[in-house]
């Protein structure tokens, strides 16, 4: 039984220049962190707002710990005040007219004064805000504002915590701090935590579960590991930053040898047997650029029969602080490729293979001495899209 379970549908009719929008999502969450990941405008924040009670879905149902927050069928809809949901807003939304202490006190007015003071003390200490107790939000740093906002949301002991892009606008070290804070919150409060982000790496880092949003719908749900290894479709892969996405035609299928061969416009790829596919089917695959390796051409032939070694030359190099990203162009048309009349100069739209290697291995490659390379696409790193 999930701790939080919801199905939401809300339709915004087209108005003026905007083409209308339909939110149609359904998700189950256990305690722990569920990352809502997707491009801006895909309905992530809208989902949080519906859970908090700021917007009323047309139809649907929200059940939190067996309690109904919203039920479109019976018309039951708890106001935000009675949902026990903590919300950390993107701009933190601290009360500017109150001190940090007063901000924390706001949600626990019903407690006796001594209890209230004790809880505020405890929170201030826990979030490193003891010295800023009497400061107003305008006098706080970005990190302090964020911590105050989390402390304020947690102090009434919510049954669900929502965070909307909490690290947006924070410097890198502060992000790391936040990740630690979030982990401690996760350990301490055994409640579902929903975190909205459009940063794939952050989603991978923080999530126990990851829900990928696309145009108002949840396209894929799974552990971050599953989502990254098996993105449901090329759109999800692109959102995750996986750039090597190729389309090809199934040319060979051999269940006995657990082998199949896919022909893309410029090269062929050996794959494991593709159950349920026929020869001639169009199939899309992807391989993360970190999984591709480059070996000098003509160096030994230790490759197994089904490994993929594609002759390439390096077209472009982009240096990041720790890695080098390279765009590779396939050198020669695959000798097995069918000779079609228009294969002559259509290199424009043939996809490049991208590879990312560490700066260290890049240095070892001795690029100046070597012009011809083989891009190696390991069989077990290639993901085949379902549809």
């Amino acid at each position: 039984m999930a701790d939080l379970e919801f199905t939401l549908r809300k339709q915004y009719p087209a108005a003026g220049t905007s083409g209308g929008f339909t939110l149609n999502v359904s998700l189950e969450c256990l305690s722990g962190i569920t990352v809502l990941f997707g491009a801006s405008g895909s309905g992530k924040t809208m989902t949080l707002d519906a859970l908090a009670g700021f917007l009323r879905p047309d139809v649907g149902r929200i059940v939190l710990n067996d309690g109904i927050l919203f039920d479109g069928g019976s018309g039951a809809c708890l106001p935000p005040q009675r949902r026990a949901v903590g919300y950390v807003f993107q701009n933190y939304a601290l009360f500017p007219n109150m001190t940090v202490e007063q901000n924390l006190a706001f949600g626990i007015q019903h407690l006796p004064p001594l209890e209230r003071t004790r809880k505020i003390r405890e929170m201030l200490d826990r979030f490193g805000l003891a010295e800023r107790a009497k400061s107003r939000p305008a006098g706080l740093s970005g990190g302090e504002k964020q911590r105050a906002s989390i402390a304020r949301a947690l102090i009434p002991e919510p049954r669900l915590l929502l965070l909307d892009e909490p690290v947006r606008g924070l410097d890198h070290p502060l992000r790391e701090d936040f990740y630690e804070i979030l982990h401690s919150v996760r350990e301490r409060h055994r409640i579902p935590i929903l975190l909205v982000t459009h940063d794939a790496t952050e989603g991978f880092l923080l999530g126990d579960q990851m829900a990928v949003f696309g145009a108002g719908e949840i396209v894929q749900v799974g552990t971050p590991e599953q989502v990254f290894r098996h993105p449901r479709n090329p759109e999800v892969a692109r959102l995750l930053g996986i750039s090597n996405i190729f389309e090809g035609v199934v040319e060979q299928l051999d269940p006995m040898a657990n082998h199949s061969l896919l022909r893309t416009p410029r090269f062929s790829v050996n794959l494991a047997y593709l159950p349920g596919r026929l020869r001639g089917d169009t199939v899309k695959i992807c391989i993360p650029r970190e999984q591709v390796s480059l070996v000098p051409a003509g160096h030994g032939s230790s490759a197994g029969p089904h490994d993929n070694r594609i002759p390439v030359h390096i077209l472009e190099e982009v240096f990041t602080p720790a890695t080098v990203r390279m765009k590779l162009q396939v050198s020669a048309v695959d000798p097995h490729a069918p000779k079609t009349p228009n294969t002559s100069t259509d290199t424009q739209d043939t996809p490049l293979i991208e590879v990312e290697v560490s700066r260290r291995s890049h240095r070892k490659m001795k690029l100046d001495q070597q012009k011809d390379w083989l891009a190696e696409l390991p069989l077990d790193s290639i993901h085949v899209f379902d549809a």
Binding site: A52, G53, P80, V85, F89, F95, N97, F106, G107
Partner: protein
Amino acid sequence: MVQALTSIDWFPFWLSLRVAVIATVLSLAVGLALAYALARFEFRGREALDSLITLPIVLPPTVLGYYLLVMLGRGSGLGRAFEALFGTPLVFTWKAAVVAAMFHSVPLLVKSARAALESVDRNVENAARTLGASESRIFFQVTLPLARRSILAATVFAFARALGDFGVTIMIAGNIPGRTQTMAVAIYDAVQSGNTLPANLMVLLISATAIGILYLTNRLQVIKIP
């Protein structure tokens, strides 16, 4: 000079002050409620209501006064209701001057207060909601304090407008010396009957008050209260 000052009838001054204070307090209550409704709720005819509230600003005062005379006169439903409730008629009493003043200060307050309330971050109010605060607590502890500077400035402005109404006042409260004669009306009266000295003094007094109020509103908008 001293003789001139003592010879002046101070009644219009005190009446104007009383009318303006009462009108401002009432306008603040009515204006805030209307502004809150306009800023926070979507309902049919919202913008129509906003235009209706703004109408007194553009309508000639005598026209507005005539409408009110018809609507609030002793023969009208509202007039009779007032008389039944308070035992005295409304029109041609100082209370009518309060109503007249309100028709100038309410539109001003609604306009500024609506803009001020709309500028308050919705997330901040929503945060208060998730923390269990009732809507009235949110209004008085979050929204209003955040909008208070603009509303305060608008209130001072509204007070100044209430102090100086002429057209509507003379239509519905009349010009009864010692009972409904406010400063603005008294100045008109004094000039008409050639009493230049009291007219000049009252004009100076009103001008000084107006300048003082403008200075105050500017200060309110500039100083940042920590």
